[in-house]
Symmetry: C2
């Protein structure tokens, strides 16, 4: 016998619908309903009737074979034949390299299994952590995953529960950790029946998606538990190594124990029990050091957070873009500040927000920040899904890669950037509700019309071709110019692995020089230095005298450019200088 339980404080009556039968459930108190059933064999569908309406899929459906509107199927996690279950990665550090990918477009097949077949590419690149964009169930077959409604069920079109497990197992077998993007700040617009079960949302706060998730109102304990249990499920049952938590700035939680603190405690408790270390990474635009400060110092103790400031200042310098939030960025001085302090906005006035923003990162190390020149948002939220390599010269894209991969932060790459993929990454959806689909298509066009785009030039998210165009083309990395860029990324990753100075997380040791007019920056990293000339003119850059001056890697530059205490930096060049490698290995006897 199995007891099936569901939290549904709203309906006066709940029935289990299974095998065509409707079985009345019993209320236990605090909104939980239960029923004893024989078992839930694979293949058998079940759901709930709420006050006679429905059936609706269970809020915690472990599998949704028929999609977000359909009934659930049980999953026997114990039955999966793990091959590499005992493996656990080292904690996230500046020695890690994260690779963000979207299952649906990473491979032609768009499945977990197809992704598993591409892991050698990541290994050769030096990647240590794969970060999957959300794989929870969303409406239709194509989507980014942030509109999830079946939060406990891996998307069926990707391969469902077993597919995800096979991918995780394959990664572990090759020494790759796997992080998963989870969305706890809103639910998708289609297939969201949670509001019929309980007060998952509250109208006391408004977010960009409408009503906020109920994290501190009446009955919020169970809402928080829903998300905590979701996190624990991924880590325990799917053996994921960590989570990337979407847009924590949209959490409206004034509890004395913030949801992120609670999540950290619960995740660590599971880790202690299993003898594993789990990584929690927050996407936060608050520039609030509390997110990653330890609990004893009043923090929420996330391992790291995304560093949009670093991205934005580098992007603004490279592209010259100044619209939207790029209005806040542009000077090379900001990039220098970001190398030293992560947050550019640390309490100063931020024009696009119309107020002061952030707080100083005092006492934090670089391992608490992710650095990237692209990610799904920065590419996909553009009208045409442009990667940095579509916007700037190959030389500038190489500068970007060099700065990300010598930064005192945890580098993150977005799938395909390592070969300057020619494919865009567009915004795509596959809403089944036609009216919703039309609204999304129209909304997307209107959004970009406001920025001066011709609506005809904005790809339609609902169009299957928009999704298909976003697929990586695996013929590219084998041929120039893509193969050259790939080689550059591999060189940089290797250098980072071999030279501690280039991955040291000690922000207080970072020194910077720059010239705003001449558009160059020099960054000292221990006995190494990185010099980038963003301009289209040659520049003479004063070198840090205490550092080595052997050219370890360079784009558009060679060793002859080092002349005394200056680097004669050619246009759009970047040089990584340091002490030469010792010719012979020394052994002390």
């Amino acid at each position: 016998m199995t007891t099936l339980r569901v939290w549904a404080p709203l309906p006066p009556r709940v029935e289990l619908q299974i095998n065509g039968d409707s079985l009345p459930m019993k209320k236990d108190g605090r909104g939980w309903w239960s029923i004893e059933v024989d078992s839930l064999p694979p293949g058998m569908r079940y759901g709930f009737l709420l006050d006679g309406e429905g059936p609706f899929p269970p809020p915690r459906a472990p599998r949704l074979p028929d999609g977000v509107h359909g009934l659930a199927e049980a999953v026997d996690h114990a039955a999966f034949p793990w091959q590499h279950g005992a493996w656990s990665p080292p904690p996230l550090s500046t020695g890690s390299i994260i690779y963000e990918l979207h299952i649906g477009t990473f491979t032609p097949e768009g499945t977990f299994d197809a992704a598993a077949a591409r892991l050698d590419h990541l290994i050769a690149l030096g990647v240590t952590h794969v970060e999957l964009m959300p794989v929870n169930s969303f409406s239709g077959e194509r989507g980014w995953g942030y509109d999830g409604t079946g939060l406990f069920a891996p998307q069926e079109s990707y391969g469902g529960p077993d597919g995800l497990k096979r991918l995780v197992d394959a990664c572990h077998g090759k020494g790759l950790a796997v992080l998963l993007d989870v969305v706890y700040n809103h639910f998708g617009p289609e297939g969201n029946y949670l509001g019929k079960f309980g007060p998952f949302l509250t109208d006391r706060h408004r977010t960009v998606w409408g009503d906020a998730v109920n994290l501190d109102g009446p009955e919020s304990d169970e809402v928080r538990r829903f998300f905590v249990d979701n996190a624990l499920m991924w880590l325990r049952d799917y053996r994921l190594d960590g989570l990337r938590i979407d847009a924590v700035h949209a959490f409206e939680d004034r509890s004395a124990i913030h949801f992120l603190e609670e999540l950290r405690v619960e995740v660590d408790r599971l880790g202690d029990r299993l003898g594993r270390w789990f990584t929690l990474i927050a996407e936060s635009d608050l520039n609030d050091p509390r997110i990653i400060r330890p609990k004893a110092l009043g923090g929420y103790a996330m391992d790291a957070q995304w560093s949009d400031d670093f991205h934005h200042c580098l992007h603004a310098i490279l592209t010259g873009e100044r619209s939207g939030y790029y209005t806040d960025f542009g000077p090379v001085s900001q990039l220098a500040k970001s190398f030293r302090q992560a947050f550019v906005y640390d309490g100063c006035y931020c024009p696009s927000r119309g107020r002061r923003h952030g707080a100083p990162s005092t006492g934090l190390t670089g391992s608490g920040f992710l650095a990237y020149i692209q990610n799904h948002d920065q590419v996909g939220n553009r009208a045409r899904g442009d990667r940095i390599s579509h916007l700037v010269s190959p030389e500038k894209a190489r500068i970007a890669a060099a700065l990300v991969l010598t930064a005192p932060f945890v580098p993150m790459l977005f799938m395909g950037e390592e070969w300057a993929a020619g494919t865009p990454f567009l915004y795509f959806t596959n809403h089944q509700d036609e009216a919703l689909g039309r609204a999304v298509s129209k909304g997307r066009r209107q959004e970009f019309s406001a920025f001066g785009w011709n609506p005809e030039d904005v790809p339609d998210p609902q169009d299957a071709r928009t999704f298909e165009r976003s697929r990586l083309d695996w013929a590219e990395p084998g041929r120039p110019p893509h193969s050259d860029m790939l080689e550059w990324y591999r060189t940089l990753a290797t250098l980072r692995r071999e030279r501690y100075d280039l991955r040291s997380p000690d922000l207080s040791a970072v020194q910077t020089r720059f010239d705003e007019g001449e558009q160059w920056i020099a960054i000292r990293r221990g006995s190494h230095q990185v010099v980038a000339n963003f301009s289209t003119a040659p520049r003479r850059v004063p070198l840090f005298g205490q550092c080595g001056t052997a050219l370890l890697a360079g784009s558009q530059v060679d060793q002859d450019a080092v002349r005394g205490d200056r680097l004669h930096a050619p246009p759009e060049s970047v040089a990584i200088l340091g002490p030469p490698a010792p010719k012979t290995a020394e052994t002390t006897c």
Copy 2:
């Protein structure tokens, strides 16, 4: 020449109205307008025309002689003849005793000057800090002050700016510190023209008063500055010693630097400059230790916060009330927990909130919490404004006093409680807008009808008699039974002053014993112990063996009740036991 400046980002045109003239002002950027004028002599009224509409009083009007709808008058703070300017109180501690009073009803005259004439009563009682309910300008002549709209102008009916200064000066002359209640979480419904000047409110969050104050949205810097400058004005120009910040749980602020942190920094900066120490006390119902934790531990560094949990559990035990939030309270075990940890709800499930509430007070000391058995809210928010002495026997009221005045927290008394005043403290208003007045009267009746009150029995807030009935009767303290209660309070305050054990803030040293069925509690305070029997039956209470057993003060109990290791506690009694005072003073030569 004087430059007059006003922040008004909303109107396209701002004019200064003065002496019947309308003078166009110049926009400086970021929403500030300015104009040069000869001077603003006392008696001259001024205000602003916003896009031709108005005139409206300045947001920071220093004086509103004609009330909240009228024009402002300048105040020359430098001209006031301070007598005791150099005096500064010691920091707030458990050696302090706070006395909360409402200027309008503390004396028959209802003025600052009349209050100043009553200070000897407070001195004799052992009070160290006077806490004034809000004195900012509100609509009409009668009100609690929380519906303020002229936040920079002391209420004219109390005596205006000079009256407040005379009261503060008189307090300082007698060694009394003065704290002021300030309201930064909403504005009153009448006379609030701030929304015409700028985005002081935001509809992104809802509070009990409607739209939240804009503390983190666009243009919030100036809104925050408005409140910070208000705080600095009271401390600098009126020489107040600290502020009590109303309902900080209604602040909706997700900035990386919380408004309270910013306020603390700015207030401390002023204190450094003036060589004074300013006290900041928060009213918080969050049970969040961050409010009073130091900045280095991620806290907001308030000196103290109100401790409603202590009040509620003591009130629930004494009265047996269990409705509203008292549904969360009742057991003696909670009172014992509150004596040891301040927060009763420190992460456990709170029925009236329908969720877990609070976090542990680990590492905090008792000096961070105010303890009281009554305050303006707990009395005045009852339908009939009942004080504890109106609800329970005199013996129980004496128990309450003894527990408050031997608690490891900062005791706070509400005016008149020291003589068990026969007068109520009712909710009263004097809105000039008739429709608003009627709505408030009706709303009050409806609110209490829901709790089973006959609407006829609920005093009308707008009725002047409701205000008049709330005035203290100064004939009472001179005659029994009021004089007996006054003597009891004086005895307790003296004992607290003389015995460090009874005021020690060390929560970890507090030990408690209690019997839920027998309704008694024993609290060890160093070498002292306090035993209270709440029941109407005699109880044998086991004493803490390590403590003195001399009866230092008692209600309904005498030394004979101590029999070996037991106290034979009579019904509704309280005993404070400790080592006897040394007979002779010893001097070491």
